[in-house]
């Protein structure tokens, strides 16, 4: 972060070696506490655990101070549009926090599947990683734009996106408020990922929104440093 001039970051739990995510959420909370105000944490739960997942999320939001819900359909192996996801999203809705979805993974987190979930919760803000699609032919981009067109409450991150003109097109068509810079570190390299925004054909206000303003608004960082560059990892 210091090397790239990044002021703030959203941090998510990684998949722990054990099955349960509770310890990973606690580790994120500890990292946030040690982060000198530069880190904001979000909680990861497995919706397949039902009530246990809801309770875990409640605890993470109420007691650990985490500020959102992170869902990883690929690593927890559930379909993001499945009804099993609804109870944990309802907890996020009741707490007024956003939902970050590890998106673009085939069969489980495709753009229109994420869109279907977002449609069921119009008053929840969903943020999808990887521009909603991981396809190096660009074949997922039309579905991504359809999902964005159908759901005002759905935003995308820039991490690993194939074709920078896709990001430029989303900003032109849907507005700069729909796109957030993210690195997905340590999977991807922030030194490269930040260039997707810095070297794209954005206006200064657009770039500022992507690099910090939007994340500040979505994750409630407004009371923190002015216009920070925010990396969602």
């Amino acid at each position: 972060m210091d090397e790239l001039g990044i002021d703030r970051a959203i941090v998510c739990p990684v998949k722990p070696r054990g099955y349960h995510l509770g310890a990973a959420n606690e580790a994120v909370a500890e990292a946030v506490a040690a982060g000198a105000g530069r880190l904001t944490g979000i909680a990861r739960v497995d919706p397949l655990l039902g009530d246990e997942a809801c309770a875990e999320l409640e605890q993470a939001l109420d007691e650990l101070g985490l500020r959102g819900l992170f869902l990883h359909p690929w690593e927890e192996t559930f379909r993001i549009a499945d009804a099993c996801v609804d109870p944990v999203v309802e907890v996020a809705r009741q707490h007024g926090v956003p939902v970050l979805v590890a998106a673009g993974y085939p069969w489980l987190a495709e753009a229109l599947q994420v869109g279907a979930l977002a449609r069921r919760f119009p008053d929840v803000t969903f943020v999808a990683t990887n521009g909603l699609q991981l396809n190096i032919s660009g074949l997922g981009q039309i579905d991504a734009e359809l999902a964005l067109a159908d759901n005002e409450n759905l935003l995308i991150q820039t991490s690993g996106v194939y074709r920078e003109d896709f990001l430029e097109g989303v900003v032109r068509r849907f507005g700069a408020h729909r796109v957030l810079y993210a690195s997905s570190y340590p999977l991807l390299d922030p030194r490269l990922e930040i260039r997707r925004v810095q070297w794209a054909a954005f206006t200064e206000p657009e770039a500022a929104a992507l690099l910090g303003g939007n994340a500040s608004a979505v994750f409630g960082l407004a009371s923190e440093p002015d216009e920070p560059a925010v990396d969602e990892q």
Partner: protein
């Protein structure tokens, strides 16, 4: 010197993609790239019977800057072969195959026939090699095994999820070359150099829609030794392109 081994010129209204030679050259200039290899998005003879002409016109507009690869659909038998021969007569430097658009397996007989014809000209075959069925490294490696005298380039070197397999098959087959475009992991370029050597890795961008400038930065972030970086950026591409007869 930098040579970009993978750029596109085409107009595909169905996808909303209009990729012009002028934009390729503008973005090459922006990134300090001297030569680029251009190819269409769709194939000849279907869905565009004039795909070769499109690339001929693009290269003619920028002499010395753009080289041509022919995108040929393998399903059309002798017609496909004749188109490829015509391409080489027109000065094309290689064959490009995208099995998602053609539904032709890399090791299918129709495809192998084209690869072998290209190899007769000492010309490479560039495959789209990503995460989709028909394009994975293990699938393309079947073609490399069947045509050991052909140079097989794995475009995108495995995409998002198949990069380790791309490096693995390159270790197994000396005729496989890895191409870096759009694959998002700088560290994997370094790993590939360490495992197969720098002489079988090509810089490319998949531009102009993918940013050649960002793709150049990606190779630089790999932190290669100067001689290895020079091979990746230009030496290997020049050797391959200039060896076509």
């Amino acid at each position: 010197m930098i040579v970009d081994a993978h750029l596109h010129v085409d107009d595909v209204p169905a996808l909303g993609w209009k990729l012009e030679a002028a934009e390729c050259v503008r973005r090459m200039d922006e990134a300090g790239i001297e030569r680029g290899v251009v190819m269409t998005i769709v194939d000849a003879p279907e869905v565009n019977p004039l795909a070769l002409e499109l690339i001929v016109d693009a290269c003619a507009a920028y002499p010395g800057r753009l080289e041509a690869f022919a995108r040929i659909h393998p399903w059309y038998g002798d017609e496909s072969l004749a188109l490829l021969e015509r391409a080489f007569a027109l000065g094309f430097k290689g064959l490009k195959l995208h099995p998602v658009s053609t539904l032709a397996h890399p090791a299918g007989e129709d495809t192998l026939r084209l690869i072998r014809a290209a190899a007769e000209h000492n010309a490479p075959t560039l495959f789209h090699c990503g995460d989709e069925p028909l394009t994975t490294p293990y699938a393309v490696a079947q073609a490399a095994a069947a045509c050991p005298d052909a140079t097989i380039i794995l475009g995108h070197m495995g995409g998002y999820f198949h990069v380790d397999e791309a490096i693995e098959v390159a270790e197994e087959h000396e005729n496989i070359v890895l191409e870096t475009s759009a694959m998002p992991y700088p560290g994997k370029i370094r790993e590939a150099v360490e495992r197969i050597g720098a002489s079988r890795i090509l810089y490319a961008s998949d531009g102009p829609a993918c940013s050649p400038r960002i793709e150049v930065e990606k190779v630089r972030l790999a932190g290669l030794a100067p001689d290895a970086e020079a091979l990746v950026f230009a030496g290997n591409a020049v050797r391959i392109l200039d060896g076509v007869r």
